[in-house]
Amino acid sequence: MQCVRNRSRLKLFAAAICSLGALALVSGTCLAAGTQDKTRDSYFQTLKGKKIVWIAAVMGNDLQAEWDAQFRKLASAVGMQYSLRDANFNTQAQSQAMEAAIHEKPDILVVQSLNVTLLARQIKRAEAAGIPVIQLNMKSLQDSTGFVGADYVGIGQQSADAIVKACSPKNGKSGKIAIIQGEITAADSYLQMQGAMPIFKAHPEIKIVANQAAEWDPNKAHDVAATILQQHPDLCAFYGLWGEMSMGIGQAIKEAGMQGKVGNYSNDGGARYACTATKEGMFSEFWSYDAPGQARDVMELAISILENHVKPGTMKTVLYSPMIAFTPQTVQASMCYDPPKR
């Protein structure tokens, strides 16, 4: 059902982009002359020249590249000025970028925190300085005007449920599982574990034989997974907390000749590779939080904040992204997006 809903959203989205593009072409004359559609005039007038800044955790992978491409496209369609700051997985750089942004005072600040505490105070200060902050996918402990992103606690629960079901000794499996986290204090790791751990604990038949952090690095994840597989040949499944990193786990399983025997559960924005890899059996089950949809949610929330002149602190909107789940059996090409060419 989720898939259906999502596909219709995609279509809608495409239609919206087309019409916005067309409008943009003629908007110059239209704005000057004024039209009968009063809300349309004020819409463009409000958004024109508004600054939106995104502080990314890291560039250089499909998820962020897709968000960036979408932001760029959607912002230019409504005449907003978009700019990107790349923290490049460096907390120091991210806090500097954040400090600079607070000083610059953009109209909307989008942040993807490297970990849950890093930007907490700065987010608070930014909002106190009158900058509405939309947090994207990786939350800080400090809430702000908006949050758009995956419900990681929910993903953790769903993943744990699926793994418990698949690995239970009742179903003839060993019950041994391994968790490979990203950065322990980053929201996606931290919150997924909050969702998953209570479920694993409630099932004593499930034994976590390894719980390591690979800092989002597929190579490190690969090496860790390969070692775990050597130590525990009867391992039932890996739970890798981010899809692109978990490709390393899938590769290790494949190299060990255990594809099909050892499960690999993961999630992310659902770029093309996820569908392809799932179809090839690299993933047992995959949850996508639909990156293009998230980008659009961010822009819609931003536009809504600007149209309503929302003062930071007066609104706390949380938009959890609808999930798309697929397995080698259910995966379809349309469930993934094609990332922009980089």
Binding site: E99, A100, H103, R125
Partner: protein, 718 residues
């Protein structure tokens, strides 16, 4: 100094301050010019790229980001000063960050307690490095590389176990927030702390024993050891300080961001090393300053900050930093390599000097300076027992004193002065001598200043510095070349400081310059202060108080003249020429028993030398292009002693035709009918019987009267 010759470009050159170039280049802070300039350029570029970058608001927020990095840079700088390297700073930083957050968030330890705990923890980690490197003498690079791996591994292990706990316990705490995000008078707390640390470390580095030791160990470890410096302890302390500062950085980072993660402090060692090298702190030690380390840190941070803000992606930032670092290092290497060459060539700055036409000295010329051989029959004393008796003096008991090249004062007494005693060991190079009212021997010590020796041989310092003049680039408060002295009836000591630009061993350069580098200083025992009395003299040398005590006579060696300077009355401080055309280079002046004055001449002028003095360009080219041993030099092979009257008339002249006993005379003293002669490079003292001299004349008596008897008034100068 004739004004008769026509105006020419080279004459005007005396007013051109060409010597300043060399003096600026000789300043220790000149090394800082490059990093400071780069820093200013980087800041200006930042302002151009990001409008408002140099605005107060932005600087405050950027500086907040800077402080922790600055603290680690300070730590690294200390270790590098000491000739080491500490790659483990990032590990210490991360451990301290983790420890601070665990103590405060999870255990609820009060901040005032947590701060010292974390600093001590850092110090302990540094002690591991310090022990392995300083005490066990394992290579710093390897040790700290290993400890970096160990500390990082410890961080990663601890993170797995404690990260969620620390994150979950994230709370707000007023004191903690004050450290992290608070301000003191509008300046972020961490920046204030950094500033205090930088000032304290600068003072420690430049003015404390430990700082000098660390610098010395970094400069030359073996030499430091030989100098008695506790090398191991110095190195150990440097590593402890470095880690303690890194820990403090980690603590403030924790307070500011409350963030723990695998990337905390990753690559910090490289960034910090880059920063201090960029600042011109030499890897390998011995050269650098706290200010330069800070400048380097600012450059690094502003560069990264600007690139992050311009939205430059990921790796590009590191690449740009790397390129800038390469350029800076290349420039620094070239600068260091060539600075000394430039300095060598630029420092010596010959000036225009036109001497008066010298009188004839040929026998039969009728000149008062006619060559003769009257010193031939001089009696030789202390042959081979003295080394460079620049000045000689006799006390009331007729004992002979002279200063040695080795820094000693010898006293000769008994029949034929056969008994030699080491009267005092001052150090430096004792030159001019004089007795004060209390029979203390006052000594001008080149390289040290003005010293005194009590009759029983105890050495005491009178002064080693004077007032700094306002517009001097070179520090002229130092007394470099105290040469000769005399004492006024009121006890004030007037002494010559021959050059503010050169030490004694470089006297030839001062001669080549012919510049007004010298001065006469006055030490007032009543206030124990020293002031510059007359400046702008050409190598002032001998000084002799005139009988009335209202003025003194002084000789300017390279100026080849004798002048009078008033110390009392309406002409106080004024100088008038007494003899303006000496045929040679004058040295010490002393009183004769008949109320006239003796003047020693250490060398003779030559037409070539006189001509060269009027051609500064020629001397510049000579210094730059010709090896030193082929330079034209003043002739110091032949001298004489003259007697002159207070009005400048030449009364007598004594030459040593054989040039064995007294080729270059620097000093003479009359005592009971004899004239005692000394020479700067001589290995003997000689004396000659004077014909028409007062056989009762004793110098100290002439100055201070008969020996003081308890209860009686002090004697007036004769």
């Amino acid at each position: 100094m004739s004004d008769a010759s026509p105006l020419s470009l080279s004459r005007l050159q005396r007013y051109w301050p060409s010597h300043l170039v060399g003096e600026v280049l000789a300043k220790p802070w000149i090394d800082s010019v490059v990093p400071m300039t780069v820093m200013v350029i980087v800041l200006l570029i930042a302002q151009m790229l990001i409008p408002g970058y140099l605005g107060l608001g932005n600087l405050v927020s950027v500086s907040r980001e800077f402080a922790e990095f600055g603290m680690v840079s300070l730590g690294m700088a200390i270790v590098v000063f000491c000739g080491g390297i500490d790659l483990s700073v990032g590990g210490v930083y991360a451990l301290a960050n983790l420890a601070a957050l665990y103590l405060i968030n999870v255990l609820g330890v009060p901040v005032v307690l947590a701060v010292p705990i974390v600093i001590v923890l850092g110090g302990l980690l540094g002690a591991i490095n310090g022990f392995l490197i300083g005490i066990l003498k394992i290579r710093a690079f390897l040790v700290t590389l290993a400890t970096l791996v160990i500390f990082r591994a410890a961080v990663n292990l601890l993170l797995l176990n404690f990260a969620s706990q620390i994150t979950a316990a994230y709370t707000e705490n007023a004191t903690w927030d004050f450290l992290g995000i608070g301000k003191i008078a509008g300046v972020p707390t961490n920046v204030v702390v950094l500033a205090i640390l930088a000032v304290v470390l600068h003072l420690l580095h430049t003015r404390s024993r430990l700082g000098w030791h660390i610098q010395a160990v970094g400069g030359a470890r073996r030499a430091a050891h030989h100098a008695g410096i506790h090398v191991r302890w110095s190195i150990f302390s440097a590593y402890v300080a470095c880690s303690a500062l890194s820990a403090l950085g980690g603590l403030f980072y924790g307070a500011r961001q409350g963030s723990i993660g695998f990337d905390t402090g990753v690559g910090l060692e490289i960034a910090v090393l880059a920063a201090i090298v960029l600042g011109g702190v030499a890897l390998g030690g011995g050269r650098g300053s706290v200010a330069r380390a800070m400048a380097g840190a600012v450059i690094t941070l502003v560069l990264t900050n600007v690139l992050v803000r311009l939205g430059v992606q990921g790796g590009a930032t590191s690449t740009v930093l790397g390129i800038v670092l390469l350029i800076a290092i290349g420039f620094d290497v070239k600068w260091q390599k060539n600075r000394h060459k430039i300095l060598q060539k630029a420092y010596v700055s010959p000036a225009f000097l036109k001497l008066h036409t010298p009188p004839d000295i040929k026998p039969g010329s009728g000149s008062p300076y006619e060559l003769n051989d009257r010193l031939r029959g001089a009696e030789v004393l202390a042959l081979g027992l003295v080394d460079g008796p620049e000045d000689v003096i006799l006390d009331r008991q007729g004992r002979l004193y002279t200063g040695m090249r080795q820094g000693w004062i010898y006293r000769f007494s008994g029949e034929n002065f056969a008994t030699r005693e080491l009267f005092a060991n001052i150090g430096g190079r004792p030159l001019g001598l004089a007795f004060d009212r209390d029979d203390n021997l006052i000594v001008c010590v080149s390289g040290m200043g003005l010293y005194g020796v009590k009759p029983e041989g105890e050495v005491f310092k009178l002064t080693d510095q004077t007032n700094r003049s306002w517009f001097s680039i070179r520090d002229d408060s130092i007394i470099r070349l105290a040469d000769d002295l005399d004492i006024a009836p009121d006890g004030k000591i007037y002494f010559s400081d021959a050059s503010v630009r050169y030490d004694l061993h470089s006297w030839i350069f001062d001669g080549l310059e012919g510049r007004r580098n010298g001065r006469i200083l006055c030490y007032d025992p009543a206030t124990a202060t020293t002031r510059t009395f007359v400046s702008g003299l050409i190598f002032p040398n001998g000084i002799c108080m005139e009988a009335d005590g209202r003025s003194f006579l002084f000789a300017e060696s390279y100026g080849c003249m004798v002048s009078r300077c008033w110390i009392e009355g309406p002409k106080r401080g004024r100088v008038e020429r007494v003899i303006k055309d000496l045929p040679g280079i004058p040295d010490n002046i002393n009183r004769a028993s008949d109320g006239n004055y003796w003047l020693a001449m250490v060398g003779m002028r030559s037409p070539v030398w006189d001509l060269a003095l009027t051609m500064p360009g020629f001397r510049v080219r000579m210094v730059k292009r010709v090896p030193r041993d082929e330079w034209l030099a003043p002739n110091l092979n032949l001298g004489c002693v003259i007697k002159f009257a207070a009005d400048g008339r030449i009364l007598d002249c004594l030459w040593d035709g054989a040039r064995i006993n007294n080729p270059a005379i620097t000093s003479m003293r009359e005592h009971q009918g004899w004239l005692y002669l000394g020479g700067l490079t001589s290995n003997r003292i000689t004396r000659i019987k004077l014909d028409r001299a007062d056989p009762a004349f004793v110098g100290p008596v002439a100055y201070w009267g008969a020996p003081r008897i308890a209860g009686s008034q002090a004697g007036q100068p004769a």
